[in-house]
């Protein structure tokens, strides 16, 4: 039995007809035209005047068209739709501006020479071709590595306590870790200053900065790890225990390997959280212009500190240096951010 199949042309009832599109098209054209007209006639001028008029006209036109075509409810809907789109645009504009300015002002003095020299023998007024930020690179590397080494075990143990052990204080710990992520960074700096410098009598050092960043990094690592561990299917835990493994073996040989890329993401997010922190470092590392290879002793610099210092000096070349520092810092942050996203999608694909 042979049967001929005829292909049915799929109908698309949701597709807008020209009659439905036309009023919107007309509205958009009218909005732009009216804005130009108003800006030309009225005393409003400049980009700001244009933007404000455009927003105002867009709301008015959209509302009016819906009202004429349907009713008050539809008009209200149109108004809020325009407002929501404007809100979203307001979020994008600052980010574009930030990135544009950083690239424009920061890339001026950028060369690979800046990674080979420090500021020990360069005055702040000398041109950008002299000196560099190697001391800041080394400082940030030391401080962030130290903070990562300390906060990773604490953060992951905290997450394990909340998700795996589910001890008596699990709820309490969870709640306090959430609150801890809101501790102002300056307070973390003051805390380390109070303990490490005042009580224990130490001087400024890279380690002190590392301690301060640890306080800020723990909650990020702990909370992200907690989310990751919660995503591990309960079956895996039960399977491990059913095979006669202890909880310790189950966690070490089943749960942690299964959550590995997620836990890496947690650590990377923690690094991203602290790498640009300035305030706690202002109180703990002391700042330096020369390379300091000993994190345990002596003043140290770091990227944020370098930017801060050059900003406060305030002459033309030092401000260019501040932008240069921000440029390099942003590249670093974006690399870390991309890494975190990469590792979190690796996890997503496996599932």
């Amino acid at each position: 039995m042979s049967q001929t199949l005829t292909a049915v042309k799929p109908s698309r009832p949701w597709k807008l007809t020209p009659k439905q599109v036309l009023p919107d098209l007309f509205g958009a054209t009218f909005t732009v035209a009216a804005t130009f007209a108003i800006v030309a006639i009225s005393p409003l001028k400049g980009k700001l005047g244009f933007a404000l008029t455009l927003i105002f006209m867009a709301i008015i036109t959209a509302t009016a068209i819906s009202w004429i075509r349907r009713d008050r409810k539809a008009a209200m809907n149109s108004t809020t739709t325009v407002l929501v789109y404007i809100a979203a645009a307001f979020v994008i504009v600052p980010l574009i501006s930030v990135i544009y300015e950083i690239v424009k002002l920061g890339s001026v003095g950028f060369s690979f020479g800046i990674f080979t020299d420090d500021m020990a023998e360069t005055s702040s007024e000398s041109p950008l071709t002299e000196g560099g930020l190697l001391h800041a690179v080394i400082g940030t590397a030391y401080i962030v590595t130290f903070a990562t080494l300390l906060s990773t075990p604490i953060g992951i143990l905290t997450a394990l306590y909340i998700v795996e052990v589910k001890g008596r204080f699990a709820g309490l710990v969870r709640f306090f870790v959430q609150a801890m992520s809101g501790v102002p960074s300056i307070v973390a700096g003051l805390f380390i200053f109070a303990v490490w410098m005042i009580q224990l009598g130490n001087a400024y050092s890279g380690i002190a900065g590392g301690f301060a960043l640890t306080v800020l990094m723990i909650p990020t690592v702990a909370r992200t790890s907690e989310e990751v561990l919660k995503l591990i299917p309960q079956d895996l835990r039960e399977a491990g225990l059913a095979l006669g493994a202890t909880q310790w073996r189950t966690v070490a040989m089943v749960i942690i390997p299964a959550a590995r890329s997620g836990l890496v993401t947690a650590i990377i997010l923690g690094v991203a959280r602290v790498v640009g922190e300035t305030a706690p470092l202002l109180l703990t590392v002391g700042g330096a212009d020369a390379i300091n290879l000993n994190p345990g002793e002596g003043n140290m610099s770091a990227f944020p500190y370098y930017v801060w210092k050059n900003l406060l000096i305030g002459n033309e070349n030092s401000i260019s240096r501040a932008w240069l520092g921000v440029f390099v810092l942003m590249i670093l942050v974006l690399i870390i951010f991309t890494l975190a996203r990469y590792f979190s999608t690796v996890r997503g694909n496996k599932k």
Binding site: M76, I86, F169, F176, F191, L282
Partner: protein, 326 residues
Amino acid sequence: MSTAVVEQKQTPEPRTITTELRFTDKLFRGIVTGGGLISLAILGLIGFFLIYNGFEAIRNAGLAFLTGFEWVDAVPENEQAAAYGIGAMLYGTIVTGILAMIMGVPIAVGTALFLSYYAPEWLKKPMVVVVDVMAAIPSIVYGLWGFFVLMPHAEYWAKLIHKYFGFIPFFDMPAPVFTRSPFIAGLVLAIMITPIVTAIAREVFAQTPLERIQAAYALGATKWSMIKAVVFPYGRGGVVGGAMLGLGRALGETVAVYTVLNLVYDIRIEVLLSAGGNVASMIVNKFGEADFVELQALMAAGFVLFLVTLIVNFFANYIINKTARE
């Protein structure tokens, strides 16, 4: 012969079944519990050491520490005693925080609505990345950008607001100095807290039961009617909590505010004027040349800031957790 062998075999002892943990598990649970409690301990220690070092300052000043407007060092030659009060700074912190919320929260909620219900599919992912990147930008970057890029624009906006709304006491100007005002600090903070508030609001909106949304549409609701009738009542707590979380961030922000705010030890309601206060910025400002007594006062100021942000965060998380669980 074989029967004898069989008789020799004994039935094995019944295995004792116990719920008692083995040694390794006890050790494991002990270590994990210890690790978990470290976070709790650190939070406690922060409070303890700040109040321990700052107690003297608070005891000397009494309630005036919170209400006083003056921050002067002792000058023995003039027989001038030290007076440390963070009243003006605390007031300024709250003003900039509220300004940030007024400007940031509507934008953030709008963006969350956009991402949840309005954005076309192709725009959703890039937009989420944009918000995440904004959250990852360090505060010093916002500080630099706020000072060199935003400030000239914001100054012009402030002039316009003053020109047309100057009759409102908040926008009045006793002196025509528009730079480094609470308004500009609030603007920078608003940009900084938007990603957090957006993320929380989006999370809460995503939990709105789909069948209620569909029910609203089936009854003929427009998108906005649906949001008003279903999404907002359901997610109100989460939005309030997210806004408070943003407020907590805004209150504790240091570097970005320091660059765009002029610290003045005075209480003023004119938000466009170049005079404001911020506890965190004041700590950085005074820290460099502080002697031991002033350092104690700074520790006490840090303790107050810690307490305020902790309370705001507690409330925020409580509200968010409650909304998420329902």
